[in-house]
Amino acid sequence: MENTNGTGSSAYDLNTSGVHTVYIILDIPVAPESEPRVDLLDYACVWAGQTDTKTSACVAILSNGFSAHYTWNYDCHRLSSDFVRLVSSLGIAASQTLWASIGTMTSGNIGDMCNQRTKSFTPVGGTNGVREWSWHQWAQAEGCQRDPSASVTLSGAWGDYEDNLFTHYYTCTSSLPFGAVWLTNNVGQSSGCEVHPTHCTYNPNPTLYLWRGPDR
């Protein structure tokens, strides 16, 4: 094999230089995986095999990878990070969103988001149902919201996915003593407990966690 781009290693004779694996990807790998990692490419290239566009590769990573081989256990941050790492290794730019309560189930200031309630959904490796949690992290790539925790793709911005996923927010009505009620999620993010950073947290660049990998 000749050195095709004029940089990097010297040419190798494939007949004498041992076993080689060639990974065919969609574009030059991008951050955070701009340096090729075989532990990612071994999965990404299999799950996104047979695809030839970045959009179809993202969908394939969700369906062939997350739906089939991951189990969500209230660890959206790890699955979201894994998605970003997988598609980045194929040359697809991706980012994340963190949407989080400021208050807790027992404390907060008046108007604060204290917990989140979802519509009924089926998490990867789990069963259908409504969930309540404090925060959620998901990804974006190729103009769509990609939530590996549920293997969902939704076109649009992060706020469209927020409107789609959440039905209610536990909103603080009094601080001392603490009181809160479940209020219906309003469309948009400019009213009530969705006003950030005053009453909740929106982070367009949350922590990227270490590679976890499939568990089943």
């Binding site: 807790t104 976890r212 990998g213 568990d215 089943r216």
Partner: protein
């Protein structure tokens, strides 16, 4: 699982070593308030201790991050809310200190045991599979063990990020035990 187990449960195992009893195999007679313990030389318990040759990065991360002190959170556990394991302190040298609460009197007892992290993941196969734990101690002249499955350490969507990481595992009956870092538990 078809194996002999200590019917009197974890509580009786250390508080009443002399009345330790071995029952006929019956996986359905779970202790009410704590993970069931087994005779450590049971073939199936020995089999549990066999892990992968080359643990994944995630599995090693779990083994490292479990070191520390954890307090039981009944509201987020599927285990009985009066479960007797109140606080666990995993040390890096393989010791596990447990604060156990007597459910009748309310008094607490401290006991030091050993634990082994059993890696279920490998670098090239299911790297995201969390490890299991095998907790062992000597009761009288007999070694007993409690197998704990899918031990995960990390953030949990149900707990605010500022409250830190949690520890979760399941007992052999599938009940999940949920612990929060003692360092952060004052926030709850």
């Amino acid at each position: 699982m078809n194996t002999a187990h200590v019917t009197l449960g974890f509580h009786a195992c250390w508080l009443g070593g002399l009345i330790l009893a071995i029952a006929a195999p019956n996986p359905n007679t779970a202790g009410k308030n704590e993970p069931r313990c087994f005779i450590a030389d049971d073939p199936e318990v020995r089999a549990l201790s066999r892990g992968s040759d080359s643990p994944s990065l995630y599995s090693k991360e779990m083994a490292s991050d479990i070191v520390g002190a954890w307090v039981f959170v009944p509201s987020l556990s599927t285990a009985p809310t009066n479960a007797a394991w109140r606080q666990l302190t995993f040390e890096s040298n393989g010791y596990l200190r447990v604060v156990f609460q007597d459910l009748t009197t309310g008094t607490t007892t401290n006991r030091t045991m050993n634990y082994i992290v059993v890696h279920r993941a490998a670098l090239t196969s299911l790297p995201g599979k969390p490890p299991d734990l095998l907790v062992k101690w000597i009761d009288g002249n007999r070694e007993v063990a409690v197998p704990l499955f899918t031990a995960r350490v990390g953030f949990d969507e149900r707990v605010p990020l500022k409250d830190g990481k949690v520890l979760k595992f399941r007992d052999i009956d599938g009940q999940e035990y949920f612990f929060q870092s003692v360092r952060q538990s004052y926030n709850r």
